[in-house]
């Protein structure tokens, strides 16, 4: 059973956003890490990069597949999780703790297009 955390926003491509003020921490969900299997590489954006909602911002590579990361929000990258460079498997240990990028949100209304925990739970059941 995949872990889902209340209070986060979820996308259909299995990324989450954890909002703190004007910032959002973006990562992949526990469901996604489970489906991918052991993650061996995370291709992350760089600080100051602009990301756009519903567009690619990087990729995760696992022993099974390489998948694009689709940003759930638009804004400027202010920090990336450098620990993932040396230890990409952290995502498998705790996908919600080990976010991928921190974004200064340029349009918080985009969050309305995302799912809440209950809706995401239904979504992955399908």
């Amino acid at each position: 059973m995949s872990k889902i955390i209340e209070g986060l926003y979820y996308s259909e491509s299995h990324e989450y956003v954890k909002v703190e003020g004007d910032f959002g921490y973006v990562g992949i969900t526990d469901y996604a890490q489970h489906a991918l299997g052991n993650v061996v590489y995370v291709d992350m954006p760089e600080v100051d990069d602009e990301v756009t909602a519903e567009e690619e911002f990087g990729a995760v590579e696992s022993v099974k597949a390489a998948s694009d990361l689709i940003s759930p929000v638009s804004g400027t990258v202010v920090e990336v999780n450098e620990a993932l460079e040396d230890e990409p498997g952290l995502i498998n240990k705790d996908a919600f703790e080990n976010w991928i990028m921190k974004v200064q949100l340029s349009d918080k209304s985009e969050l309305d297009n995302l799912m809440d925990a209950a809706a995401y739970k239904d979504f992955i059941k399908e």
Partner: protein, 494 residues
């Protein structure tokens, strides 16, 4: 059973000063090394293994026993068409009349080879419903790139420089978007319907004057025939784009359906799949590219052409067309592979070639129907040459597709393709090909059913498979994170 001692690396078997040869006395004058520029002289010993002949023979014979190929056992690797490579192909390809040729030889002295080359071009064009073929590309992905370069040349020749996007279905082979990207084109993904075919309603809004073309396989990656292909081709053509056919799944269509007849403009064929040439171990492969009438002038050069010669004979020559997109390979591609493919076509002949597709389709459906009560079949209905299970039906045991694949090795079968396509989490993709007898298929079905039962009775045993192979389950995470690829690195590690 392999010998442990001779199974070591050849460098580990090396003993200083040991020789397995004795050269005759050099009766020719020695060349002086003093004329050679210093930069070209090696300073270090080459470090070659020093072994006697019997050690060499035992080492490599033991190593070859670890190999698994179509000649050893059943190889139902989905999407790869691992068909038998008839031995007559080898016999013809290694004939001295061909192996002794040099690509820079005078054209008058290689007319026979060029005739074979030309006739293979024509045979492929006939089988695929295309106007012309080039045999120059070295592999399927190389063919895709070449085909997309033809597409780009076509638009450029019309001054139509807005067309920078290629549409690719979400179930496509990874090479499709990769080839488009290498060709400098942007990839637009079109979604699949629940039955795995292209969603025409999702396609429509993507079509405008920025679309260079669309890449498809048919049947698609799930082994399902794209029944809307006529409508899709019309939509893409109406917006000014071209249709590209990825020939990876041509086998079930062979002799029955021609890509050129169902709306495709450009295509490649994997000779190492559909036309029984060697596959794997790095090939060499071959990815001929065909085009419909009106695009042939863009094909890469050089091209082999036929001209009317003296005395009612044909002559063959090499042509460098002025509109050609240029050279994409050394000389004329992998000639030895073409010899094998042409031999295969002539061996089957016009009538027998029509049986290839139907038999491959029959075999795939036979396995699918025989296993769908114990393996999860996400898409019901008749498949073509291959199909995809979504793991075991009973997921409660925790036994995954990877475990099933590893357990198959214990029974002497090559594993099917796993975790592709990405549409299902536990994808297990089986392609039997047309070559296999009913007994072979039944044997495979029995073992697959047995593994499904083992998953219930003794899941830990299946999860720790394989148990009988020369190496047990490999740590693929560590292999990806800390690959050791040379003997020197291995020695340092130990």
């Amino acid at each position: 059973m392999n010998n442990v001692f001779y199974g070591k690396l050849i460098f580990e078997l090396s003993r200083e000063g040991r020789r397995g040869y004795s050269l005759p006395k050099n009766e020719l004058a020695s060349y002086s090394m003093t004329d050679m520029p210093n930069a070209l002289l090696r300073e270090q010993d080459p470090g070659l293994p020093e072994v006697d002949e019997l050690t060499v023979v035992r080492h490599y014979t033991n190593m070859s026993n670890n190999n698994f190929g179509v000649d050893t056992g059943y190889y139902p690797l989905g999407s790869c068409t691992m068909k038998y490579n008839p031995k007559i192909n080898e016999e013809i390809a290694v004939h001295r009349a061909f192996t002794g040729l040099h690509p820079l030889q005078d054209i008058d002295t290689v007319q026979g080879a060029l005739e074979v080359y030309y006739k293979l071009q024509q045979s492929l064009a006939t089988l695929a419903g295309m106007k012309e073929f080039t045999l120059n590309p070295y592999a399927g992905a190389h063919g895709e790139l070449t085909g997309l370069m033809v597409m780009r040349s076509y638009h450029a020749s019309r001054g139509d420089d807005k067309r920078t996007k290629v549409i690719v279905p979400d179930s496509a082979h990874g090479t499709n978007p990769a080839s488009a990207a290498v060709c400098g084109l942007d990839v637009v993904v079109v979604k699949s319907r629940p039955d795995g075919t292209v969603d025409v309603d999702d396609l429509r809004p993507l079509l405008d004057d920025t679309i260079a073309g669309m890449m498809m396989t048919n049947p698609n990656t799930l082994g399902i025939f794209e029944h809307s292909i006529a409508e899709i081709a019309k939509l893409v053509h109406d917006c000014g784009g071209l249709m590209y056919y990825d020939g990876a799944n041509l086998n079930p269509m062979l002799g029955k359906v021609r890509p050129g007849d169902i709306g495709f403009d450009i295509m490649h064929i994997n000779l190492h799949k559909t036309f029984s040439t060697p596959h794997g171990g790095g090939g060499p492969g071959s990815g001929p590219v065909g085009v419909r009438e009106g695009l042939e002038q863009f094909l890469p050069s050089p091209r082999v052409i036929r001209i009317d010669g003296d005395d009612d004979c044909y002559e063959y020559n090499i042509d460098f067309g002025k509109d050609s997109l240029g050279s994409i390979s050394g000389f004329l591609g992998n000639f030895g592979v073409m010899m094998r493919a042409y031999t295969y076509i002539l061996t089957l002949g016009r009538d027998q070639v029509k049986n290839v597709g139907p038999l491959a389709t029959l075999n795939a459906n036979y396995i699918k129907e025989s296993l769908k009560d114990v393996y999860e079949l996400p898409i019901e209905g008749v498949c073509k040459h291959e199909f995809v299970f979504d793991g075991l039906k009973d997921k409660s045991t925790g036994v995954t597709t990877l475990d099933v694949a590893k357990r198959l090795l214990d029974y002497g079968y090559h594993a099917p393709t796993i975790y592709f396509p990405l549409l299902f989490h536990e994808a297990l993709m089986i392609e039997p090909t047309e070559n296999e007898s009913k007994e072979t298929l039944d044997g495979f079905i029995d073992v697959m059913r047995k593994i499904a039962q083992e998953a219930k009775d003794d899941p830990e045993m299946v999860k720790s498979a394989p148990h009988t192979t020369p190496v047990r389950r490999l740590d693929d995470t560590k292999a990806a994170l800390h690959p050791i690829v040379t003997y020197r690195e291995l020695a340092a590690e130990q």
